[in-house]
């Protein structure tokens, strides 16, 4: 490529940086639904929001007598975690930590939700661990996982509560 065209491209790239930020793209990211995913073998396909809350609060610990629930939650900063803390737990980050410390040492649960660092990791663990349940960005749902309806609705449907 001639040098002049390289300069032209460079100038155009620089110019593009000075354009205003595309706010509508950020707004869209905030509106994406968060899907509840489980292993396809898990005997559940529809849960009410209250049931999801009961599961994630550790008050329901078994799918069946032989299949314990394994909770997976994204690490802090992830949007999926923010949605879960805000809608499911209705707690701040510190309240969430305090809740699980107290829960474990009240002998009500043996462990806190396991932390996953990406939607991919969440999907992989849901596929690999029997009884695992996780929240992932609905755009990142992978084959090999089952999306659970919440209050009878799937992500993307009107009235879906986890957004």
């Amino acid at each position: 490529m001639p040098i002049r065209w390289k300069i032209v491209c460079g100038v155009l790239v620089l110019a593009s940086f000075s354009l205003p930020a595309p706010q509508h793209l950020f707004a869209q990211a905030h509106d994406v639904d968060v899907a509840v995913v489980v292993q396809p073998d898990t005997p559940v396909s529809n849960l009410s929001l209250a049931e999801v809350r009961k599961i994630f609060l550790g008050d329901r610990q078994y799918w069946t007598a032989n299949t314990p629930v394994v909770l997976l939650i994204r690490a802090p900063v992830a949007r999926e975690r923010d949605v879960v803390l805000k809608i499911i737990y209705q707690m701040s980050e510190s309240q969430f930590k305090q809740y699980w410390i107290a829960k474990i040492f009240r002998a009500e649960s043996v462990s806190a939700p396991k932390v996953v660092y990406s939607n991919d990791m969440a999907s992989e663990l849901v596929t690999a661990l029997p009884g695992a349940i996780a929240f992932v960005d609905s755009r990142d749902v992978r084959p090999g996982t089952k999306v659970v309806r919440v209050d009878g609705r799937l992500p993307g449907e009107p009235g879906y509560p986890l957004r």
Binding site: F26, S48, A78, Q90, V110
Partner: protein, 434 residues
């Protein structure tokens, strides 16, 4: 040609800059810097996810190509390095996945230990008392799943005494889970009477206030704090009502009323306890319930009393606001004289997590009350009565220094006994978990 193009581009660039600077500054639509930073963080996170996804897809493709490469090695001997490195990265990705799964899988036993401690300062205007610091309780909690359905929990406390430390096994129990509806534990646990005793164990950091209510205080005798025996518990299928139960059978109180029968029962009668509570799904945060406890007491050889305790609680566990209330009636019947005695106690505690400064401040108020008959042979078995009339108010504030440490300060005004003067006190505590 080139110079003209440069001029056009310069205009274009200037136009873009001007356009960017003159973007409408509508206050309603402009996100704050913090919001933009948050969005950038989220985008960074998403980018990381996408990169990770891409990396794995590449690795999988590389693995396929690598496999083909192995098959065709004899033919394509001129390019052996690329398939080898791709195979290596695929193996690394696979190992990474396995490591994640291994890490997420519970291994048995898997002991978790958490410590709690507090440092306190107390000053009151009660005659004969001195102000000063004390070390509170140093507590270690243990939790260890032994298999998918069996777990162990323990609690050890070290309490400073004038010449030594009192070491006590506060809880030690093994639990077998059948399912959500039936879990059975054996050992020593906090008696499931009321709310506080079963919710806030040793470790002052766990509770909002500095001290426990008098009716459930450690070392107190109003209600039996510990219980040695077996306990069945679980959920009751009840839809949105969220019912749960616990039922226990054990030794009951020892001859020292504040202690459980750790080393054996004091008589041949077992104590039992049953409790039922509800956490309605529609009112997340609400819990209410009741419990009944039955025991035969033998505080001194030859003197026996029947004991019945009825308790009820109503709590709102969210912190905006937090509301805790509990009532207990303790009924004793002297088996020699058949006379009966009833003592009542309750507390109401209100707290509110303030929304400012990252929700660190939590002011609270508690009113508590105990009433006992003038003569009560169980409470008065020793020269110093173990339960006294009490009217008290506590007002204070909790400040969470970090997620794991808090500072509390409170003022208490209490009157113990009949016609006794009120006592005012200032109390401070730093409580933490580690």
């Amino acid at each position: 040609m080139f110079s003209r193009l440069l001029v056009v581009l310069a205009f274009l660039l200037a136009g873009c800059v001007l356009f960017a600077q003159s973007a409408p500054a509508s206050a309603g639509q402009e996100p704050s810097n913090q919001a933009l930073l948050d969005q950038i963080q989220q985008l960074q996170k998403r980018l990381t996810d996408m990169e990770e996804h891409q990396r794995r897809t590449d690795a999988a493709l590389a693995a396929l190509l690598g496999a083909q490469g192995v098959a065709d090695k004899t033919v394509q001997a001129s390019t052996p390095a690329a398939p080898a490195s791709e195979e290596h990265s695929a193996l690394q990705a696979g190992e990474h996945d396995h490591a994640q799964i291994r890490e997420a899988t519970i291994h048995y036993p898997s002991l978790q230990i958490r410590g709690f401690a507090d440092v306190d300062f107390a000053a009151t205007d009660q005659k004969g008392t001195t102000s000063g610091f004390d070390l509170g309780q140093f507590v270690l909690h243990f939790a260890s799943p032994l298999s998918a359905k069996v777990s162990y929990f323990g609690e050890l406390s070290f309490t400073a005494e004038p010449s030594t430390y009192d070491v006590s096994v506060e809880r030690s129990l093994v639990r077998y889970d059948y399912n959500d509806y039936f879990k059975m534990s054996f050992g020593k646990y906090h008696t499931p009477i009321g709310y506080w005793n079963n919710t806030f164990h040793h470790g002052a950091w766990l509770q909002t206030t500095i001290s426990r209510p008098e009716m459930v205080k450690f070392g107190g005798t109003f209600t039996p704090i510990h219980f040695v025996g077996l306990l069945a518990e679980g959920n009751i299928p009840s839809g949105g009502l969220g019912l749960a139960y616990s039922a226990g059978l054990g030794n009951g109180r020892s001859s020292i009323l504040s202690k459980a029968g750790d080393s054996g029962d004091i008589n041949d009668n077992r104590a039992w306890v049953a409790s039922l509570f509800a956490r309605p799904a529609r009112l997340y945060g609400l819990q209410f319930g009741g419990s009944v406890y039955r025991d035969k007491l033998t505080p001194t050889p030859g003197r026996n009393f029947d004991e019945w305790i009825e308790s009820a609680h109503l709590v709102w566990t969210k912190e905006h606001p937090e509301f805790l209330s509990e009532f207990s009636n303790v009924h004793h019947r002297d088996l020699q004289t058949l006379q009966t005695y009833n003592s009542q106690a309750f507390y109401i505690q209100l707290a509110y997590r303030l929304p400012w400064q990252e929700n660190k401040w939590k002011p609270y108020y508690r009113f508590e009350y105990i009433h006992r008959p003038n003569f009560e042979p169980v409470w008065d078995i020793n020269p110093t009565p173990s339960v006294e009339d009490l009217v008290g108010s506590t007002v204070g504030v909790r400040y969470d220094i970090t997620n794991y440490a808090a500072f509390k300060g409170e003022y208490r005004n209490t009157r113990r006994g009949v016609n006794e003067p009120r006592v005012n006190g200032a109390f401070f505590q730093t409580a933490f978990t580690f």
